[in-house]
Amino acid sequence: MKGIGASPGIAIGKALVIKKQANFVTGIPLETSDDVRREIQKFELAVTSATEEIRAIGGNQEFLEIQIELLQDEQIRADVVGKITADNKNANDAVIEVIEQALETFRNLKDEYFSARAADVQDAGNRILRHLNGSLSITPAVTEENTVIIAEDISPSDAITLDITKVTGIATQAGSRTSHAAIIAKARGIAAVVGCGTGLHSIKTNDPVIVDGTEGLVIVRPSQIILDEYIFLKEAFGKQAALLSSLKDVAATTTDGVTVKLLANISGADEMELSLSYGSEGSGLLRTELLFMGKDALPGEEEQFGFYKGIALKAMGRPVIVRTLDIGGDKQLPYFNLPAEQNPSLGYRAIRICLDRKDIFITQLRAILRASIFGDLRIMLPMISNVQEIRRAREILQEVKADLASAGVAFNKDIALGIMIEIPSAAVTADILAKEVDFFSIGTNDLCQYTLAVDRMNEQVKHLYDPFNPGVLRLIQHVVEQGDKYGIHTGMCGELAGDVSATLLLLGMGLREFSMSAASIPFVKNIILHNSVATAREICRKVMGMDSSQEIIHYLREEGKQ
C-alpha cells in the first residue's frame, strides 16, 4: 500500500502491531457463583500479567512506578470485586465502570498535577483490560531484531516508552512528513512510511513486511520475487549510504568555492553524538520539549542544566542553538494543564507561555546560561510575532544574567539571542526584527502552516500543506535577503532544509546554513558538492518566476535528475 515516504531507507522485517483499542461494555451478566469466582480470578490474573509487563520495561521512571502502584491498587481491586460479586458484572464491564468512576473524580480536581493523573489511571485501566481480553500490549517491549512497528500514529509519549534500538522500520496509518513518527525515524535513521491509511489494518503481528521509506511503500507478506528485489535494493541503499557517509568529514563546499554549514536538529545528547557521525557541524535546533515531557512536574534548574551541559560537551565546541520551551499546540504536558482551545496552533503556546509564566522561562534561561561555559550554546525564541516579544524576552534575559553575575556564577555573557521565523508577520517584518536579534532561523513547518492556513495534522487538508507554494517561497527569500542586508546570520531548521529537491533553490536564495535530521545531511551535502552557487542562483531566479508549486516541484525534480 502507498503512504508518504517519511524517512528514506528500506526495512525488511516482522510486523509488530501497536493498537489503541476502544473498550466496550459487553452487558453480559454473570449467572452462577462459579461465574463470579472465575471472573474474579480472571481479573487477578490480568493484574498480575499487566504488572509483569510494566516490570519488564525496567527502569525507575516515575510514570512506571505509578503504573505498578495503580495496577496493584487495593481500592480499584475492592471496587472491581464488589461489582463482580454484588452486581454480577463480568470482569471487563466491572473494570470499565470502576475506571470510569475514578476518572470522573480526577477530571473534577482543580489542581493541574492531580487532574493530569487521570491519564495514568486511564492507562492502568486500559492495560488491565488488554490483559483481561488477551490482546496485545500497546507499548510492547521490542524483543526481536528487525521489528517493523505498525501503528495508528506515534505520539510523543509513545516515542519515550518505545525501545527503538531493534526497530528497523515504522509504518503509520495517520501522520505526515512532519509528524512525530517521521521525526523520530529520521533522527535514528530508520525507514518510515506515514499516512498509509486504514489499509494497515490488514497487517498482523509477525507478518513479514517491507517498508520502503524512499518510495513511500508498505508491502505485506511479499512474494519471494519481490522480497529478493528488496534485498537487492536494501543492499544498494546501504552502499549508497556508505558512499554518503564517506562524505562525513568533507566540508560542504560548492564547485565555485562557497562553503555551507550543515547542522542537525536534535532532542538530546545521544542525538548530538549520533549527528556527528553523519557529519553535522553542530545543532541548528535543539528541541527542549523532551526535557519537559514524560514527567510529573516541571524540570528544575539543575536537571535542565545537566541536560544542556551534556549536549554542549558532546558538541565539542560546535554551535548548539537551544530553542526555548515550545509546548502548546499539538505538544501538551500532562502536569501543565493547558486549557482546551478552539485553535491550539493559534493559542497559548511557546514564547507566549514563557512571557506569561516568567518563572518557567527564568529557570530555563538560568540553566542554559550556566551550561553556556561548556560550549557554544545560543538561545532561540520560538513563535515570535512582533518586536515587543523580543524586547521583553531580552529584558528577562538581562535580569537573569544580572542575577547570575551578582551571585558570581560563570556564564557566557555574550550568548547569542535569535528568533525562529515561523509566523508570517515575523517573516514580512524581518527588516524590523533583524535590528533586535543576533540571528534568524526559518522554521518552515509552522511558517508554511500559518501562511497557507493549513493544519498539517488534518487529514482532509494536509495535501494543501505545500512549502513550494510561491507565497511561502517569497517569504523565505525575503527573510534571507533581509538577514543579509542587516548583517545577521540566517539559518533554516524546518523540514524544507533537509529536502534535497529544495537544496539548490535555497542555496540560490542565499541561505548558507541548513539544519535538518542528521540522516539527511549526507544527501544535502552531496548536492552542494556537485553544484555551483551560480547554477543555484539561476534555478532560484527561474523558480521565483513560476506561478504554481506544481510547476516548481516538476522543474526542481527534473533539475535534480541532471
Binding site: 516515575e62 512506578e65 505509578i66 502502584e69 495503580l70 491498587d73 487495593e74 481500592q75 480499584i76 475514578a102 473524580t105 480526577f106 480536581l109 482543580k110 489542581d111 498535577y113 492531580f114 487532574s115 493523573r117 495514568d120 489511571v121 510529573d296 512536574a297
Partner: protein, 88 residues
C-alpha cells in the same frame, strides 16, 4: 483508634512518589488506616485514593488508625509526615 492531624509541608503537595512511600508505610501494619480531609474519607492503602484527594502544600488532613498494632502504625505514619516527606 488513634486520630492525628497533619499539615502537608511539601510545597508541591503529596505527589505520586511520596504517595507510594506512604502506602508502603501503611501496608507494613495490620491496622486499618483512613485519611480524612474536609467531608471526604478514604482508605489509605490505595494510590488512587491518595491522588484523588489532591493534597497540596498547606492542607491539613486527619489520619485515623485502628487495629492491633495501631500505636506502631500511627508512630510510623507520624515519622513519615514529620521527617521522610521532607526528603522526598
Amino acid at each position: 483508634m488513634i486520630a492525628k492531624d497533619y499539615l502537608i509541608t511539601a510545597a508541591e503537595g503529596l505527589h505520586a512518589r511520596p504517595a507510594t512511600n506512604l502506602i508502603r508505610v501503611v501496608k507494613r501494619y495490620k491496622s486499618a488506616t483512613v485519611l480524612k480531609k474536609g467531608d471526604r474519607t478514604v482508605k489509605l492503602n490505595s494510590m488512587l485514593n491518595i491522588l484523588s484527594m489532591a493534597l497540596k502544600g498547606g492542607d491539613t488532613i486527619t489520619i485515623l488508625v485502628e487495629g492491633e498494632d495501631e500505636a506502631e502504625a500511627s508512630a510510623a505514619i507520624e515519622a513519615f509526615f514529620k521527617e521522610e516527606l521532607k526528603h522526598l
